[in-house]
């Protein structure tokens, strides 16, 4: 029975989740991670720190096996695939808000012709080779309220209509300047020193306006609030949104980021990053 929970929400819950979660943590002391727990709440196995990250899947399977062995015989569970977050990257919620699906990754290579401004000539070699991922993906979600989402809708459906997206909304995307999945490394909206996102209607065809998006961000983030552990990020983004003019609704949204992140100092060795924010109507 798989459960995926936010431990801070579990600790505040009033439906019994709090008591169960605190009991689990007392039995196997780990801040977060995986526990195998009997229906009565007894911890059978658990894992948080992996001995070897590259073999992490095997270590996790070993923990699950240990938990099942401690539990005893159990029938194979027949469950259908589900989507517990149907609005992630799709559709509009009842209150008019949307959830953008976000992804970020270290993306070295791509060719020196894509070298961004500010990268030293001596480090251009980091852009040699094919543009391809290095390491796992950061998966994230960002909610925009109805008003924030409306900032991407054109005031008029004529080619050339242009506007600036409010800075408050542009700042939501600051997190995409880092590919770190750990919350301590996630840039916050207030970390942005530049958050500039603009939109322009480039075509109107078949009752749909195609909106071109372009943006620029710069940020400085202190990991865990520690000013001796700073990361410096910069990125540009290009994208396209499609808007149904008569229906007054967005149909699709895609924003692709290209950036660099430096650890420790503003002239530290740059790591190229790529990120995506996307959404579509159902």
């Amino acid at each position: 029975m798989p459960a995926a929970v936010n431990l801070y929400k579990a600790r505040k819950a009033t439906n019994g989740s709090r008591e169960l979660f605190l009991s689990i943590q007392r039995q196997k002391d780990q801040y977060q991670g995986i526990w195998i727990v009997s229906p009565e709440g007894k911890v059978l196995a658990g894992i948080h720190d992996y001995k070897d990250f590259k073999n992490g899947a095997h270590e996790l399977l070993g923990t699950i096996d240990a938990g099942l062995q401690a539990f005893g015989p159990v029938d194979r569970r027949r469950a259908e695939p589900t989507n517990p977050l149907p609005h992630r990257g799709a559709g509009v919620r009842d209150d008019g808000s949307v959830m953008l699906a976000l992804y970020g990754r270290q993306m070295p290579g791509g060719g020196r012709e894509t070298l961004p401004a500010g990268v030293e000539a001596g480090r251009a070699w980091l852009w040699d080779g094919t543009y391809s991922p290095d390491g796992p993906t950061m998966i994230d979600t960002a909610s925009l309220s109805a008003d924030e989402w409306a900032a991407f809708s054109p005031a008029g459906a004529e080619v050339g209509v242009a506007w600036s997206v409010p800075e408050k909304v542009a700042r939501v995307f600051t997190r995409l300047l880092s590919a770190s999945s750990d919350q301590s490394g996630m840039p916050l909206p207030e970390d942005a020193r530049v958050a500039d996102l603009r939109a322009k209607v480039e075509a109107v065809e078949g009752g749909k306006a195609r909106i071109r998006l372009a943006g620029r961000w710069e940020m400085v983030h202190a990991i865990e609030g520690n000013k001796d552990r700073l990361t410096y990020g910069a990125a540009t983004a290009e994208g396209v949104a499609v808007y149904d003019v008569s229906g007054k609704s967005m149909r699709s949204f895609l924003l692709v980021f290209d950036g660099t992140i430096r650890h420790g100092k503003p002239d530290g060795s740059p790591v190229r990053t790529g990120a995506v924010a996307e959404w579509r109507a159902p």
Partner: protein, 72 residues
């Protein structure tokens, strides 16, 4: 006329939707890498315990400081 020429020149210099989609595909995880999202996760611990009791099976509790399915 000048405005139209400038707009046309600007459009020619921009990546197409296909270009952007290709870059996005290079960055995003593959469908195989996202298979774990299709596991029928329950997002509430008390609800998971209720189902586990009914089905007489253990719970796999995955807890993080974020919502695990929204940010990881």
């Amino acid at each position: 006329m000048l405005k139209a020429l400038l707009l046309a020149a600007w459009l020619v210099s921009l990546p197409t939707r296909d270009d952007l989609a290709a870059r996005a595909t290079a960055i995003k995880p593959t469908a195989k890498e996202l298979t774990w999202l299709a596991i029928p996760w329950v997002l509430d611990l008390a609800e998971a315990q209720k189902v586990a009791r009914a089905e007489k099976r253990p719970i796999l509790v995955w807890a993080t400081g974020d919502d695990p399915l929204e940010r990881c």
